[in-house]
Amino acid sequence: MARQGGLGRGLAALLPAEATEPEEPLRPVAEPSTPNAGTAADFGAELIAELATNESGLGLIYRALDMLVERFELRDAAIVIEEHGVGRQVFRAGRRPLDDENESELLSAEPGIYTEPEIETGRFDASLLTSMCVVALRLDLLRYDSWHDQLTGLFDRRSFDRLLEMSVARSLRYQWPFTLVVLDIDTFKAINDRDGHAAGDQALRSLGERFRRVLRFGDNAARIGGDEFALILPNTDPDDVPALLERLAEVTGVEGACPPFSFGVALCPGEADEVGSLFRLADERLYEAKEGRR
């Protein structure tokens, strides 16, 4: 809950005024601190146990900050991490608003742990905590990247397979219908041959961004192959899909035109209630549509 209890307090600017506590500057924790002094060993062991059991990297970072705040009765604790792909990131837990006057300095602070009041040197291992939080953030970034297609930002094939399995299972268990759409770009090879692969990549990115803008919360879009995409649309009548896809071309503010595409749809559980047969049905209809366009 640190994310809501700590960082979320930055939103206090939008909420009715509350009594605020006197603010003092955050102070850096001296580093390196002496491990195994006082409670340092216990604290380190607790953190390692958290790392082993916490499935969420970000959750571990906030848990570690919470533990710091609780154990040392702090008003505020923050950790600054520098990591490839996201640059310098500040994580914070405490009782001060995120956008207080000191925050601008924290945003540009060197990586490390900052607390208020300052924790006596040696009472915990700051370097261990920092390293663990770096690992935790890296885990979440890797997890995110492993489920998403780098070019379009949509889910990748692995994510799609899992999502489709879950959707079919849920559909059978609760009788929740969904429509599977399989779609590919009609002229992708021609775009690559004529305009180069950069133009092909741009067409894929453009389509991905259009999906993101048109789909509802709960719909899922994935890039499942070179120029192949799939959509999982809960509670959507297959007859409504053409109108939905027509809206892709109407989206404004996306770099590059919407490439022409063909698609096939299949309804679960109405037309197929198994992953393989459902996908095959949608795929066959995609190729029928493609043939029809030739």
Binding site: G6, G8, R9, E101, L107
Partner: protein, 233 residues
């Protein structure tokens, strides 16, 4: 799709340094803090990402820390933590975007003026909120978001009524003014504050509705200074 995915995706946006989440009623509030060199399209990108991840209405507040050009007598730009000043650092300013809207939180403690905190839109409920502050007291004005610029003016006047109950504030019109694409939005408006000629205001903003809210304050600045509720002090 988890909150972690949302946070990671937001933190991956260029310039984002910190992210926070909170809930108010049925709205997911997302706050992002960004560095000085963040891209102009960041508020819109962040709003789209947040909307995609949430079933509920989402309001995105974006705090952009900037170092303003030094003025005579102003201190040097803020030094990195530690040792932050207890008082606001001169030459430092924070800008907040709510939904696709920018809000200036520049502090001028000696000047008694109504300031704009946030302009929020809730498309699902067709609501537009304008948050104002005066001497630490905050008010919220509401209007239909579908009324566009005039809705922002109406919501601003609605919020102002709490500070100046004696004034009869009525919206007139609000119009965008064409500017080049790389400039902020510019809006002019007309409002009335009781008998006498109508007041006109003009202001820029990070979005048309924010510019309209600012233009309303601009139109009424002098009138308000004379009519502010002493209780608000």
């Amino acid at each position: 799709m988890t909150l972690d995915d949302l946070e990671i995706e937001l933190r991956k946006l260029p310039g984002v340094r910190a992210a926070g989440f909170s809930e108010r009623d049925d709205v997911l509030l997302v706050q992002l803090q960004v560095g000085e060199a963040s891209e102009a399209g960041l508020p819109l990108q962040a709003s789209r990402i947040a909307h995609r991840h949430s079933e509920r209405p989402v309001a995105v507040e974006l705090v952009r820390w900037r170092t303003l050009p030094a003025t005579a007598g102003a201190a040097a730009p803020a030094s990195p933590a530690p040792a932050p000043a207890a008082q606001p650092v001169p030459g430092d300013a924070a800008t907040t975007d709510a939904a696709t809207t920018t809000v200036d939180l520049t502090r001028e403690p000696d000047e008694r003026r109504v300031r704009l905190l946030a302009v929020l839109t809730f498309p699902d409920t067709d609501e537009l909120e304008v948050h104002l502050t005066l001497d630490g007291r905050r008010t919220i004005g509401r209007a239909a978001a579908s009324r566009g610029l005039l809705g922002a003016v109406e919501a601003t006047l609605d919020a102002l009524r709490a500070f100046a109950p004696a004034l009869t504030l009525e919206p007139g019109w609000a119009r965008p003014i064409d500017v080049s694409s790389d400039e902020p939005f510019l809006v002019a408006c007309q409002v009335s504050a009781g008998p006498g000629p109508a007041r006109h205001g003009i202001a820029t903003g990070g979005s048309p509705i924010e510019a309209a809210a600012r233009a309303s304050l601009h139109a009424l600045n002098r009138t308000l200074a004379r009519s502010l509720d002493p209780e608000a002090a």
